[in-house]
Amino acid sequence: MFNRVFVEKELREHLRAKRILSKLGLQKVEIVERYDDIWGQVKKPYLQKRQGLDLFIAKKRGQLIKKAPAAYGTVGAHHYYFIHAFNCIYECEYCYLQGYFHTPDLVFFINHEDILAEMKTVLGHHAKDSQVWFHGGEFSDSLALSHLSDEWEVYFDFFKANPKAYLELRTKSANTKALKNLSPLPNIVVSYSLSPFKVSQKIDRKTPTLKARLKAIEELALRGYLIGIHLDPIIDSVDLEKEYGELLDSLLNTLPTKQLSYLSLGVVRFTPAVFRQVQKNYPRSPILAQELTKSFDGKVRYCRPHRNRILEKIKTLCLKKGICEEKIYLCMEE
């Protein structure tokens, strides 16, 4: 599955490292002092991920939890994201990781106890009645390789013991194996990013199909999981409302609205570095034919009237389909 696996010296006897290696059936690994002696030291072209990736099993040092940018999650709550892995096996054409890291190689951080301890500290900084969210999947899909990394059990234990804290696992994966062995909790939401079939087929490369994601949602909902939905990034089209109407119909056929925790809407947007990577890596991408402009701050996006109209159209559609307004939030930068 991986070209090579590197393990940090201090983790070579770590139970989690051993478990991952045994799942990979590996006899031979490279022992290194620190993962970042190699990972990110040279500019490795993003699309080399197509020819195989290296995996690093490492300890996350420095800040383990970061404050999320504005409009990251539901309004009125405090939002943080935590870093349990770097990079992703999928290849969405708009993925911001392609301009963020200097290598597509994967890192699994396995010092989850440190992350959880920092969550505890963060919780301590907030009033008891405030809602504090911890989002996973900012730098890597939360579920895609979870059958290997096998980390969620300790998080479930933590969130069971801390019912005022909320966990979001962001994903596009149909790999729900790891979650099936765990018991759903009212403060844990598995959230899926969805796009209409036509566009998803073109630009969500190597991800499970829309059908497979909807099936995974259905299965998780049946098991009692709360589901979040991100209609993000929305890419404009002549049939925008029709396509999103169909998507919402399929979604609501599989997911009872009471199990829909929230639905977020966001239009496609890029930092200049990521946009340059999209142009380089996917020169024929339909995204590049969009009415995106380089804005005053260098970001590449639809102009304000355009994105507002898109968000308004999709929000109205969601309301029409019976999703209540309190569950919808807009990912807006302003």
């Binding site: 040279v42 500019k43 072209p45 034919a289 009415e291 804005s295 102009c303 009237p305």
Partner: protein
Amino acid sequence: MKLLVFAHSGEAHEFIKNTPSLKSHAHGEGRLHVGDDLAVLMTGEGMDRVFLHLGQALARLASVEKVYNFGLAASLIPECSLGQIISVRTVYRSLFERMEFKSYSSCDDLAVFDCISSFDRILDPKEAKKLSHFGHLVDRELWAVAALCHFHHIPFESFKLISDYGDQAISCEALKSKAQEYSCRLYEKFQQTLKHQNSPHPFSKPLDHREFLSKFYWTQSLRRQFEALYKRWEIANGPGSALPAIDEEENQKLSPKKKTIRFLKKMKESLSPTNSAVRKDIEAIIDSHPSTSKKFHIHYDNHLESKNLKVTMDISSQKDLDRGKQFLDTLPLKKIQSKIEGKNV
């Protein structure tokens, strides 16, 4: 023209022998041989020599379309075995204690092995092990070749014959004694590569709008604008799709440059219908404001982001001042802001 770059004359020998049109370049110090469609350069060993001699050669030969680097490399992994010829995917550079961040990739999309260019021959197994974390082969020149190609916007490919293993380097004499054999093998590889590259690309579809475009006047910057728009045009409308029609009668009144600008504007509008519609709406609101004139004008944010308006007034009399006050009183602020908000007024 194809420029073939070698470190040593021994490696280039077979190429020169089989290309009768090659003549020694007057200023090439015997290193550069130029033929009809091919040139051969022997740089000498190491990146410094490449920077010097390839840099000069690229300055002298104006028409290099592609650079091929042929040479020897040591393998860092068992998968690249002795005698194999490997096409390089990406090249990195070792800077003694650390790695250079910048890397360059060849234009061979099928290549899977990476090379590290080092200033010295790698003789220490520990060093070889360290380098193997970043690449599969080690050579002495490729990074410099690639950096110069990048600077000159010339694509490159590199073929390395594995002559030894990184941790068991063999002597220079042993390598020299095999130079003839290596050169023959590399030449064969070059012939195969050319044959493969000359076969028509199954997806290439020549687009020819030349006749249509010749009706316009093109400066460098207008051409660049066209090229950027055309990329989007092809994605949006399909390869080879017709460009926007031009109204010959209307265009007759315009200067050649303005004619081109109008054509590009049409392309832009067609590719950005929402943006164009909002601008048209806002301009219609501004134009319909009774006091708008050369002296009193409303400016809106060109990015359609900020809701702030700028008003310019040229006031030289009491009458202007009174008109200015009235102009401000009746400013269609809300209407314009609603448009920027994306609302239909």
